[in-house]
């Protein structure tokens, strides 16, 4: 039984933010930040959620964390092995409270995610105190374990966040998230505010902890190259929808969506002779308030045909576990990272 159901199953998730105008707050339209996405995460595995800025990746993460209420859809989460899974999307904030500790989050901006008025000790102790998991000497012991787990020192506990660099703050965030032994960690671009050298340290730290504690990750990023590194499956989003969802090796070996190909062609390559093939997309991403008819990607697509501007291509399975939203997925011969010689 426990093997058959995944840790997290997101079904047809939508979030539409109303746009209100005027004195009477009349709703004049909706920003379709997330418009029907589905994916699953098995216990202990890493799923990469990739897309460009504003495509709705963060909104998905925040809905799973319960910060936003979905407009539509289901979020099935299994907090423990021998517990029935529950639909988080149907719970009120107070009903959700007992399940919150099983899913934790690391944030993009390490300068906003730690309370500037609290010492590191207070920050790390808070989750344990709030959930009444430890107190007194046991609490101090746990806090020390946590800070050492992320490679910082016990004497750092008395300092305030402003005394730390971005990378160190992100380590503190990781320690805080791990305090409750979550089953799922939502990492919302945890490295995008850091230097490249520090990015690798944080990613390695996260992977090391994952192996030790068996946590599943939802790794949100705009960087395909980074995500390839450790994701088992990849969900690629474009303007609130999934364009391609596949196991990482299939996606990078043979992408089936033109958008995926375009992104891959821009990952730095070890084969400079192929660099000329870089696909530069024209124009801006579609407006989520008023998306174009048909496929939202068609105005920028190199392979677009008449059908693309008329019909929306539904997400369909074209290989084992490989889902694509493109009318011509079978006929296009697209080149993935392997053919392009991407670094990483």
């Amino acid at each position: 039984m426990s093997q058959s159901s995944p840790l997290l199953e997101v079904k047809d998730l939508k979030k539409h933010f109303p746009i209100q105008r005027g004195v009477f707050r009349k709703v004049v339209g909706h920003v379709k930040a997330v418009d029907g996405i589905s994916f699953t995460i098995e216990p202990g595995e890493t799923v990469g959620l990739v897309g460009e800025s504003g495509c709705g990746k963060t909104t998905v993460g925040r809905m799973i964390m319960g910060a936003y209420r979905p407009t539509n859809g289901e979020i099935w989460f299994k907090p423990e092995d021998d517990v029935e899974r529950i639909n988080l999307a149907a719970l009120t904030p107070s009903e959700m409270k007992p399940y919150r500790r099983y899913a934790q989050m690391i944030f993009q901006d390490p300068f906003a995610s730690l309370d500037p008025r609290m010492t590191v000790r207070e920050i790390l102790a808070e989750p344990l105190v709030v959930n009444k998991l430890a107190k007194g000497a046991e609490l101090e012991g746990r806090v020390r374990e946590l800070i050492e787990m992320v490679g910082l020192k016990i004497q750092h506990l008395n300092r305030y966040p402003h005394a730390f660099s971005g990378g160190q703050r992100q380590r503190i965030s990781v320690a805080r998230a791990m305090a409750l032994f979550p089953r799922l960690l939502v990492a919302d671009e945890p490295t995008s505010a850091l230097d490249v050298s520090v990015q690798a340290q944080i990613v390695n730290l996260a992977l090391e902890i994952q192996q030790r504690m068996g946590i599943a990750y939802l790794f949100i990023s705009h960087d395909l190259g980074l995500v390839r590194h450790f994701s088992k499956k990849i969900v690629l989003m474009y303007v609130g929808r999934v364009v391609e969802y596949a196991p990482a090796e299939n996606l990078f070996g043979r992408p089936r969506h033109p958008y995926t190909e375009a992104l891959m062609s821009n990952v730095p390559s070890t084969k400079p002779e192929l660099m000329g093939r870089k696909i530069i997309l024209k124009g801006d991403p579609a407006d989520p308030i008023n998306p174009p008819p048909g496929c939202p990607f068609h105005p920028r697509c190199l392979y677009a045909q008449k059908l693309c501007s008329e019909d929306y291509p539904p997400l369909r399975e074209i290989g084992p576990q490989h889902f694509v939203a493109c009318h011509f997925a079978e006929s296009l011969d697209l080149r993935g990272c392997d053919a392009l010689g991407c670094v990483i």
Binding site: F107, Q108, P116, E126, V130
Partner: protein, 279 residues
């Protein structure tokens, strides 16, 4: 807290703020040691020495009943300070609670509280205070309370604005996802980060509370004679202003200096807390 090294260094370099702080500290000492500092008891009547001009035995002269003006002013300092602090304490407490609730919960709660603020702001507050005092009777406690409950609106708006912006910060989201309750988030996470502008508003608020108290006492519905207060000393002085200028000038200067001191201190704190806001 926000009183970090940077803040202290900028305060030290700010001449105006230090002058204001000096005035406030001196006033405090005067109020605390009033009995030791004043040459005569404040209500000591000396009918042989009425309306005496400043001399060595009465440095600031005497009033119509022969009471020493300096002694009465020294005792009046305590009245001004206690009215200022208690009134601002009340208004800050009310303002913080309503502002926090309004900013944190938002929605209907926010709209109700903010409309209530608008209604309160519609009344000319001095006349509102006059009306209430006429109803409940003048006493120093009534004045403190009435000033407090009619001047919390600015703090409420300020705290609400801070809550609206801090509520959206990631560390609040992190606390929510750990299962922290609302009370913990409001008091341990958001409020400490919202205190800096409240401190500035409170300091400036003391200045205006002192001014209102003086005004009420001047009109005869504040501190009641024979208890000395700078405001009621002005009232007594105005009848004899042609023959005894010292009765009006010294209490007036005391009010001026106090209000200026708090304003300078408040503005100094504001500039030092966030140097970018400086004009």
């Amino acid at each position: 807290m926000f009183l970090n090294d940077d803040f202290v260094r900028r305060m030290r370099r700010n001449g105006m703020a230090m002058a204001g702080l000096g005035i406030v500290v001196v006033l405090f000492c005067v109020a605390i040691f009033a009995n030791q500092l004043s040459p005569y008891p404040p209500s000591h009547i000396d009918t042989t020495n009425i309306l005496a001009p400043p001399t060595w035995s009465h440095p600031l002269g005497t009033d119509v009943l022969g009471r020493d003006v300096l002694s009465r002013m020294i005792h009046g300092a305590g009245v001004s300070l206690s009215v200022g602090f208690v009134a601002v304490g009340i208004s800050t407490l009310i303002g913080m609670i309503l502002g926090a609730v309004s900013g944190y919960y938002g929605g209907l709660m926010d709209r109700i509280v903010m409309r209530f603020v608008d209604v309160m702001l519609c009344f000319p507050s001095f006349f509102l205070i006059l009306a209430v005092i006429a109803f409940v009777g003048p006493s120093i406690w009534n004045i403190m309370i009435v000033i407090g409950v009619t001047s919390w609106m600015g703090v409420a708006r300020l705290v609400r604005a801070e809550f609206l912006s801090i509520r959206e910060r990631d560390f609040v989201q992190a606390a929510i996802s750990q299962g922290a309750r609302d009370g913990r988030i409001i008091f341990l996470h958001i409020l400490p980060n919202a205190l800096a502008p409240v401190l500035v508003a409170a300091t400036l608020g003391i200045a205006s509370a002192v001014l209102i108290e003086s005004g009420l006492s001047f009109l005869g519905i504040g501190v009641q004679p024979p208890d000395p207060s700078w405001g009621n000393m002005l009232t007594e002085g105005k009848d004899n202003i042609e023959i005894a200028w010292w009765l009006s000038v010294y209490p007036g200067m005391a009010i001026l200096t106090t209000v200026m001191g708090y304003n300078m201190l408040g503005e100094g704190i504001r500039d030092s807390l966030d140097p970018r806001l400086r004009r």
